[in-house]
Amino acid sequence: MNLLEEIKKRILILDGSMGALLQGRGLPHGHAPDLWNIERPDAIRDVHRQYAGAGADIVLTNTFGASRLRLGEYSAHDKLVQINQAGVALAREGAPNALVAGDVGPLGGIMAPTGEISFDEGVEIFREQIAALIQAGVDLLVVETMFDLMEIKAAVVAANDVRGNVPLVASMTFNVDGVTDTGTDPVTAALTLEGLGVDILAINCSTGPEPMVAVVERMAAASGLPICVQPNAGLPVNRAGVTVFETPMEKVASFATHFAEAGANIIGGCCGTTPDYIRMIRASLQGRTPKSRSMRPSMAFTSRMISLVAGEGQPFIKIGEKINPTGRKAFAQSIKEGRMDMVVADARKQFESGAMALDVNVGVPLVDEGAMMEKALTAIQNVTPLPVVIDSSYASALEAGLKVFPGRALINSINGETERLEEVTPLIKRYGASVIALLAGDDIPELAVDRLKIAEKILRYLEDNGIPADRVIFDCLALVVSAMQDGAAQTLETIREVKRQFGVPAMIGLSNVSFGLPQRNAINSSFMAMAMGAGLDAAIMNPYDEDLNRVVAAASMFCGRDPQCRVYIDMMEEAEAKPKEKDTGPKTTREMIFAAVMDGDKGHIETLVQKAVEEGDDPMGIFIDTLTPAIRHLGDLFAQRKKFIPHLVAAADTMKRGVAVLDPLLKKSGASYDKGTVVFATVKGDIHDIGKNICVLMLANFGYRVIDLGKNVPLEDILAAAEKHGARIIALSALMTTTMIQMKLMVDQVRARNLPYKIMVGGAVVTKAFANEIGADAYGKDVGDVVDVTESLMHTVREENK
């Protein structure tokens, strides 16, 4: 039977669970089922026989865990080939008329960039098992129960290395939300797997049949490939140490027709299903033919969780250009030093500015570009979900990037040069990527007609090497308008013609057009509108340019890329929603100082205070009548829960800068605002003191002399400092229940030695009740009341000393 021909004619039946039946035959809990291929071949053969008897057209070998790491857990990795070969032979013997599918499960570890198994290691582990299955003569391969797009990519690459013409089924597991546990949706999975050249898409395990229908529908809408589906008999349930599946066979079988309607070509069962389930599924599909699905694939690229499709009627694709060292010295330096902070910052900023994909170029002379590409793509995936365009003139750097990026990446780029085509085409094929094809050769042809000849050459070359045209987007080359004013017309003509003649989408690298001219934004926006009018589908561009973003949004409506103008309206509503600076009319300098403290405007406070002084204002007056009331007012608003701790901190920080301007003047004039000395410390054992530092700042602003001893300070040091500086108050901060005890020890010491200090306590875990219990003199709840509490305590000190 030729599988790929047969599934066009009828719906094939796959077998059900192996595990459930082996447990029934005495497989001990915790024993590897794969080992039974050599330990209990009779039992395995019998299971296959039963499934064949139930009407399975395809049986899966008992080799789900027969790979190096998983067998290693049972110290059986040296029997890998033997177990896989036995698995194939037993399936053949038990089901002589069925197709035998070599079954491959997850590799038993977490793949990079999430985990520690590198792509190459993953491929090698899969290849070892798959080679053994192929050698044993399987009719097809099934890689299944994959949660991680990176892992299934490694499995498919490994399979492609050794499978020759043996068909490959690639199966992912989706949860009840319709995505894999690592966040991949069915469309992204389908596009990525189709790019990698699998023959049949599949869904298995995890949920019962019901949520899987929508997954099949979404896959069927995204790809024309045949689809295989294997539901569990419901979600697993562990009762008294035994895992059971409780969805009855009637219910599972009733979904078989839904799967068929959704577009499935092969239907079987996964965990918890038995030959009876399979028999019933077969019966319910009797006489049904598979739904005919013909679809012209679109040019697409994806990340782990986002798919972008380029073409007419699709949203215009904005690719951010900023991760590129050209003309950016600091960026180039960061790459040279192996730092990813600027890459991450640009990735986030472009994402937040509306970029839909990121071009990533880390080509700095004398760096290991492959290593940097790997590092950059890993870092980018940590902070954005966006698809990437892997941009390098070195094939080795492209490949390094492709190995850490789970989706269908877009390669930038190939061109008409045979050498470049020969170098990059194998990467497109191996890693299932899409590609930007520059319509240039040794040089850039001036005329559209010559660029089209290059387009034709590239498409022919790719086709000869097994890569269809739907993997390509043409870069139609936007030229510098100041150097070549006729160039624009040729670019626009090229855009129109590549789409008309080849049906291939078009893009440009936009910013180049305005090189060397002033007000580049206007030029970029104008050309963008013209190019979109000619049919442009995507551009590598500056996503920070708000004018350009507005033009893309507006032009998208005219080009049929924004149905009901939704995107445009949403974008404008969002822009309108941002609060605007309100003009409250002219203010005096004092009013501006007050407002600066209230707003936490530490960037302007020094200039304002300086200005007030230069205007002849009294420094003490500025301090007493403006700065202090401002922060007191904020304190009142804080107490009313109208302002919050960040406001207090920013205001205190701002005031500090204002006070710093006044301080020398106040000292010079002999004026004093010293309200007394406080020794402040975070107790021994606590290594965290930012809360304490803010309290110190607040007190200093209010005229207290604060001796800040820092964090993790022993009691003796605090007492010594209090004595040395003549402190009246010792303020202690603690953040952990284990270090709070230090506060009690301090109170006890001070009382026992009859020392003249008041003890004030506070910090994350400290409560008023605790403060009372240890006999502290005061408790500061937070930075909002530290000034009031200190003032009141200082008042008590003064009263007592009268």
Binding site: A345, E581, K602, I645, D653
Partner: protein, 213 residues
């Protein structure tokens, strides 16, 4: 024999403005743009952008078999006696047959930057970054928790809540033993004599696996 430790070298993340504001105890608004004080709003936005470059989320987790409640009010875990002690642990794990211990960290870069800002007198920026970092350690714990929860569900079990040393009567003194069992050192976590994890922006915890009734 205890299970193998699973290491997650890269935990992807998003810094959610609403959560950051909540961490700073700012109520009534959901986004930084709603703050009337523009300089403060800008400072928070800059801090979040910077935090993206300073946070490197990593996690490690391991699932162990539990052997019931022992005489001393302890839930016995293979290879780690004396770890799950106290009434709360008995309540949490008493009916569980397995437990997953976990540790996450955002790494040491963020707190080094807080320290640097603090020392150079940039107290607002230090405070804001500290707040973002504090929340993000919990965020990483939630991400790893989700991953573990999926494993628990896939195996047909129910989960307990996530519980950390220092909660209830589970003493903070158990921190070193928990980190050791979870193999926290493999993602760079150590524990000080006063049971503080280094990097400070780290979280350790246990989640129990309960069979269904």
């Amino acid at each position: 024999m205890p299970g193998r430790a699973n290491i997650i070298g890269n935990l992807p993340f998003t810094i959610d403005e609403t959560r950051v504001l909540r961490e700073m105890r700012v109520s009534r608004i959901k986004s930084v743009d709603e703050l009337k004080e523009r300089p403060l709003a800008e400072a928070i936005k800059k801090t979040i952008a910077k935090a993206y470059t300073l946070i490197h989320g990593k996690g490690v987790y391991k699932t162990v078999e539990l052997n019931g409640i022992g005489d001393g009010g302890e839930v016995a875990a293979e290879d780690s006696p004396g770890l799950f002690i106290g009434a709360d642990m008995v309540r949490l794990l008493g009916a569980c047959t397995r437990a997953t211990v976990l540790a996450v960290t955002i790494g040491g870069d963020l707190e080094a930057e807080v320290e640097r800002l603090d020392k150079s007198g940039e107290i607002t920026e230090a405070y804001l970054l500290e707040m973002v970092g504090g929340w993000m350690a919990d965020y990483m714990a939630e991400r790893l928790d989700e991953r573990i929860e999926k494993e628990i569900i896939r195996a047909g079990f129910d989960r307990t809540m996530r519980y950390s040393p220092g909660y209830g009567d589970w003493p903070l003194e158990r921190q070193p033993a928990l980190i050791q069992l979870a193999e926290g050192e493999r993602i760079g976590i150590s524990v000080t004599d006063s049971h503080i994890m280094i990097p400070r922006k780290s979280v350790s915890a246990v989640i129990g696996w309960k069979g269904k009734a």
